[in-house]
Symmetry: D2
Subunit: 299 residues, 4 copies
């Protein structure tokens, strides 16, 4: 069976999760086909360790997303793989034993401390090079310069640098990458101005005829991607895939509609929230949308 | 993109929800291909109103499932459609207004009272016919006899009757169908012995070399499908797709592993729990498994 | 700090979970104080193994609840304790090992097979006694007669029999108690008419000026308690405490408002859904409501 | 009933949510009584709009917490109230209408744009004063200086400044406070170095004999509070109250045990995760712990 036929069946059901997946797929295909609309991708949670690295690289390389907003952790894990490290499976759930074996756990994903040691060496060489050659002006500018030093063609950070897709990571300091940056700063000067990113990002927002955001998980990236559109009256379209609940009031689980009250989404904007695991549902929605774009079906 | 390629990508990720979907798909294809294994399908939640009716009918007609365990509500909604009724969309969420307009709501699914009126008439004719012609011996026997009176080729109940797939609905009385049965019994005699089903179902279990269960949602059907295998040491394989949490201790959200402690699943049995919306994930897992069966890939 | 002061603080916050707990507490106190309103308590999930047995017994003995609707499992575990068995803690999560040690697991609660052996012996003596002395007319009638044979003052089933609180367990057959009943029926005759309960329960509904339901968990008991009020236009008030989500459309997680569309709750009825673990939140809401009733504060 | 008696009942149940609340309460009382242990409080989600402001102020004033880690949003809402604004209830859920009436929605909590206008004026006066008088060295230093300008005795930021409790808000820029900071920087110079906070926070960690963290919600504050203890081998104790799920792999829903694999929690550290709404469960656990501390019961 083809994904596009499957999505069509979801549309025939049209309700509950099936209806949400169908509507998200159609909205994403419309967002991709609209030449006036710039797509921001917001990525929280362990999406790189969770296997979505190549999907994000493709979205950058084929020009589908114009901006990436993510966590320092996803950038760290992208670099970990670029430097030859990997993510592992099936090492059990005894966290004290894992620690003794030099493994870190993220759900059912495992990392090895030897990969982090290589990461530390490599990133420190890069930090030294950047510090000696450039004056860093913002977090985005820092990530860009890291990207210029990466040779791995499968790297999100490199692909973004190569394709002029800015990466924003407002919480970068809270990650292994941030930790290295802090330790590097003990004896060097490579401070990151937390305010400076906003200038450039708001320029992108104002230069966009329309903005659509695709939000995987919640967290800081979700709020940042919506709030950056506040001064222009909000986004024109948004898709959110999350397992977080709405009842606690946290933004991560908030229905997208709530953004309309804050002018983070425009009145009349097309908003679809899908409840579920983004590692399954985003590849599904994306594959369906790309099938639709290729076939020109829902033009 | 083909579903089988998509599932393969899920396997490459191999972790979090993607890994669970991949493992469930492989397990289901193995269950389907194993000539010694009988598949029981357990269906709770609004799966018929949610658009899964034709999928279940196909599973019965093509011989994939040997037993169906479900709620009285799903049987009611199957009959509602067989009698010409339907399920509707997009009538809003003001439940008092919906009531005044003669509509019942299930999430974002709507029913019309006029369809239920037809349902009542039709089911009463059938009840009268059954009561005059047969002595009902169990709930399963009752559902079977209803099935023989249905002409709609898209009906689960008819397909089950035609193909000798017994339907168990231990909570049948707690549904619109049960309500009609109760009202019919005010002036007639068509009592249903709640104990009698167990005789036949345990015979099926003992005659099966192996049993695998596919559990959509939780509820009474989940427990019934697992517990019916208790006397034989438990099921040999199981897949569960649910959004319920494990922390409250309720069986609906319990991890399948827990069934091993009760001998409802055998030691060493292959068990996969997928967290998410069954109206999306079961069609996905099933389509992937059928692709695998057709291609003979994971033999 | 007193619970009533704590609930008052929840009311000062007034929003999110705090607001829900406050409103549920006030509604429950109003339900208890209203002499025209009969309270039905619906109990799904492992509430007896989860430590709520004595709370339910007290609610029966002090006349607060008029009807109890629950699962066969909770009745089984009530009997298990009445026959000298217990629920255990801290035996780990390796289900195959647990099985080998004769333990069954429910989340972090454990049972011992030796307790179930005693349960089987004892319940069989009771079944023999009942079968020889009475003709059972319904599931409720069966549970009542079991209750008359229990000597344990802490038993829910005994307290209910002593205080004329009918217990409905429409899915009783799907439990260890049901299993014993089925095996007993292999050589005896003690069939349970699944339809008969509805006659008596609907009489109770029609004789009640008003009905309020308190719903712990979802499942068959939730639907049964609401649906039994359908013919009279729905309940007058309801409180639900559950961790289930609404997005899958299953009744267990459905917001109580949805019941209005089906005339299972009256237009204008007071309905409060609290999201969380009932083993914490129901004792909290109940203690707060009893404080309010004692002090006459919210009259 | 007293909270301490209630918590004792939770301990008698000892399992499921009741057991978790009991264990969290005991652990928190031990943490409070341990003179060698410094408590870090991590607060994500709308805890200030959700009514927890005075609880947090009390924890600062009575010396229970040594460090507060939170979001820019909670700081914004603390200032909003200090400047005379408020949080409102019961304005419905039509977000386009809310926007037209100048209201922003957070679940069932509402804000008014006129309060935000006052906030903007007041914070700008403070920013001007700070920029003219001091050179800001870190985000924590900035928040401290804001605190010295606040006169409202109910303010978290003022209480923290008065009592030398540092507040860390690594994602501060992503909030209304951050937005004002950015706009102020268009024509002024008040940059915030995202790296500098780490120096001071790691000093606090190394000067503490032991660290215990209390984590409300997840998000950036959760990771930051745990990761800041990484270089010292992890925290000695932790309590987490969250509704997020573990299955997606995101840190917000991750079980605390996972932190042991990363040396963010020590082997053998006492860790309790409670699943539920922090606006109910944290006040409950805290009230119970304070009762225990006062009575000296679990010494």
């Amino acid at each position: 069976m083809k994904i596009s036929d499957f999505i069509e069946e979801m549309g025939n059901a049209g309700v509950l999760g099936a209806g949400r997946v169908y509507r998200a797929t159609n909205l994403l295909s419309e967002m991709i086909k609209d030449p006036e609309l710039n797509i921001f991708l917001s990525v929280a949670g362990p999406m790189v360790p969770g296997g979505m690295r190549s999907i994000i690289v493709d979205l950058i390389k084929n020009g589908i997303i114009k901006v990436l907003i993510t966590s320092g952790a996803n950038l760290t894990h992208d670099l970990l793989e670029s430097f030859g490290g990997s993510h592992y499976r099936n090492y059990g759930f005894d966290d004290e034993k894992l620690h003794d074996s030099g493994m870190g756990r993220i759900g059912d994903i495992y990392t090895k401390s030897e990969d982090f040691e290589i990461f530390e060496n490599e990133i420190n060489h890069i930090l030294e090079k950047i510090a000696s050659e450039t004056e860093i002006t913002s977090i985005q500018d820092f990530i860009y310069h890291v990207g210029t030093q990466i040779t791995d063609e499968n790297s999100i950070i490199k692909a973004a640098a190569d394709n002029n897709v800015p990466i924003y990571a407002p919480g970068i300091i809270d990650s292994m990458l941030g930790l290295q940056l802090w330790m590097f700063n003990q004896s060097n000067k490579l401070g990151l101005d937390a305010v400076a990113d906003m200038h450039q990002l708001s320029d992108i927002v104002f230069e966009s005829d329309k903005v659509g955001v695709v939000i995987l998980g919640g967290g800081l990236p979700k709020h940042y991607s919506l709030a950056s559109n506040l001064l222009k009256g909000g986004v024109d379209a948004a898709i959110q895939i999350t397992m977080d609940r709405s009842e606690t009031g946290s933004l991560s689980g908030a229905p997208l509609e709530e953004a309309k009250s804050w002018a983070k989404a425009k009145a009349g904007s097309n908003l679809v929230t899908v409840v579920g695991d983004a590692t399954v549902l985003f590849p599904l929605v994306l594959a369906g949308a790309l099938d639709l774009v290729d076939s020109g079906e829902n033009e």
